[in-house]
């Protein structure tokens, strides 16, 4: 017999692959991790999955659709990672907020293929509504955390939480893209990216009166 039955383990079960869609997403991740989003091709993903070059088109309209799927899953993973780190502000909001920042960089570092699909691919937001929704949910974690942080101040002198979230997101994303790359960003840093981010966020929050510490009395490393 040319096919081998219904065993459940990975691999083809004859003419049909069995789980080609998942296999293609995995292959795309591997290729993006290795060569960047531009180096990924449908043909090579099909080769990795062991099917003909035309097979992927049964599951994805074109290469962009596959990238969008990867990006969407990336935002869902990021949302989980951020929510776990924030942990609803426990045990202490400022510490949890710093953990959230570290989680962002950790995600960029540990999931470079997802991160690249999310931010280096020019996917039009309105062409992929589920992707945009997933991105919004991930940002929502950060926004919610900023709102909670701001609540320690009396309402009339409370800074807009959305602004805080945007500032912290931009700083985190900037550090991630500029300094958390295996290939690029080989600029020698005086400190690891996580510490750079933590210091920046802390200084920013101090200025808003949201974090303790003396705004001017920092230690100056040699």
């Amino acid at each position: 017999m040319s096919w081998s039955g219904h065993q459940g383990h990975a691999g083809r079960r004859g003419y049909h692959h069995g789980n080609l869609r998942e296999a293609l997403v995995e292959a795309a991740l591997a290729l993006i991790a290795e060569k960047g989003p531009a180096g990924f091709t449908i043909a090579e993903a099909a080769r990795l999955a062991g099917v003909s070059p035309a097979a992927p088109y049964r599951h994805f309209r074109d290469a962009e659709a596959l990238l969008a799927e990867v990006a969407q899953r990336g935002f869902e993973l990021l949302e989980s990672a951020l929510a776990a780190a924030w942990h609803d502000g426990r045990p202490e909001p400022v510490a949890a907020f710093e953990a959230l920042g570290r989680a962002y960089l950790g995600f960029a570092r540990s999931e470079p293929a997802h991160y690249a699909a999310m931010f280096e691919t020019r996917l039009a937001a309105d062409a992929w509504p589920p992707l945009a929704a997933a991105a919004d949910r991930a940002f929502g974690v950060l926004r919610g955390a900023a709102e909670r942080l701001a609540e320690v101040l009396p309402k009339e002198q409370r800074p807009p939480a959305l602004m805080i979230a945007l500032h912290v997101w931009a700083l985190s994303h900037g550090i991630a893209t500029l300094f958390c790359r295996p290939d690029r960003g080989r600029r020698p840093l005086p400190m690891p990216p996580e510490e750079l981010l933590e210091a920046g966020v802390l200084l920013y929050l101090q200025s808003l009166g949201l974090a303790g510490g003396t705004p001017r009395g920092h230690k100056s490393p040699p």
Copy 2:
């Protein structure tokens, strides 16, 4: 005659193009602006320049080399723009520093093709030394400005200027990539990107004691 002499205006002067290298860079910029770095192809750049698909390879080893050239010119333009905005800290360092930030966003907005070639192409720094050098010079403007800013503080409580420069660069780059895109980043902002950056930098500098204003007594917009 099939060729038309030595007139200096643009266009071919017979068999030889006359200025193909420049024409290819221009074509690349136009294509990147229209379709992103991934949409740019050597073949179409050649078509725009009016030469055969093989001609560009006389001037650039491959597509990546042409992109590297565009990116390098981008960093040189950015350096000029930043230096002009900083204006050696005149008339007043903090105001000049804010102008520098606005210039960064202005560059990202007015030169999207250059910006994309600089930051969306995964060019390996060590494969293109002149590119890396140009990037260093551009960052050097920011670093020099941060050093000058820090000098207002007594030496023992002076924060490391490199850290300041890295923070501000990351924040600027994050805002530029997330919110200054024609296509992506259609997230509705409560304020224009320039104001977002200015507010972030100001708060950050206040915390370091480098900008005036009361660190806590800000106005909170509704």
